[in-house]
Amino acid sequence: RGSSGSLQHKSALFSCVTGPKQVHGRENWSLSPEEFEVWDRLYRIKESDGVKEPVLPRTKFETLENLDETSKPEEEAAHQLSLSEWSLWQNRPFPTSMVEHSDRCYHFISVMEMIEVMRQEQGDCSYELELQPHLRIEDVCGGRSKSRLPTTSS
């Protein structure tokens, strides 16, 4: 609906340029009265719907001072969209339609798969055991500068 709406919007704009005919409020960024009526009837969430308004979680940094707007109290009454509720499904690529998965997305999937594999582990960590022989002490803080990291006792 969105894309076809914007297409119509464009053609309306062009017809507006070629000849000033009856353009029914479409040149505005906002909805026309007819569009508003459709939105209000079919898509708008009202109190009678019994569903909460969906909201996205806000960015919050544990280790930084948070500047961004503090969450409104009414957000408790909204449905927070969760990005971790279905983490068990995320160790494989989900189907795509028009947009392919990004590298970033594949990184995410790989890490979720790695976590899934490590979930069964007890005690020693295979990742650690695999990497330990490759560690060169001059690559890390302990080797580069002692003043910066006081925890170089190991």
Partner: protein, 126 residues
Amino acid sequence: QRLRAAVHYTAGCLCREVAEDKGVQFSKQSIAAIAEITFRQCENFARDLEMFARHAKRSTINSEDVKLLARRSNSLLKYITQKSEEIASSNMEQKEKKKKKSSASKGRRTSEEQEAAVSESEDSNM
């Protein structure tokens, strides 16, 4: 793998600091997962930084590109900008004193670690 090992070690050090700070413990597996995420995130950063610099018709990545990585969060952007100014002013002091040739040595450990990892991973990509 050598780079991964270095990231893993450093992630372990940082996690130990957080663990002491918060009075919690990290399992070895969670540290490994954080290390792997960091390693892969460096690939994202490296690619973005390279594109940002190229977008500005530069071949050298500078601190403005790094700031652009943090553009989506005001808090993060403010933090990075402050650090960048601190580094710049300490660089100026060092130049005036002409004591040290090495620059940016007073940067925050993790950010420098990431930048170092970024440049190294870029080298290995080529």
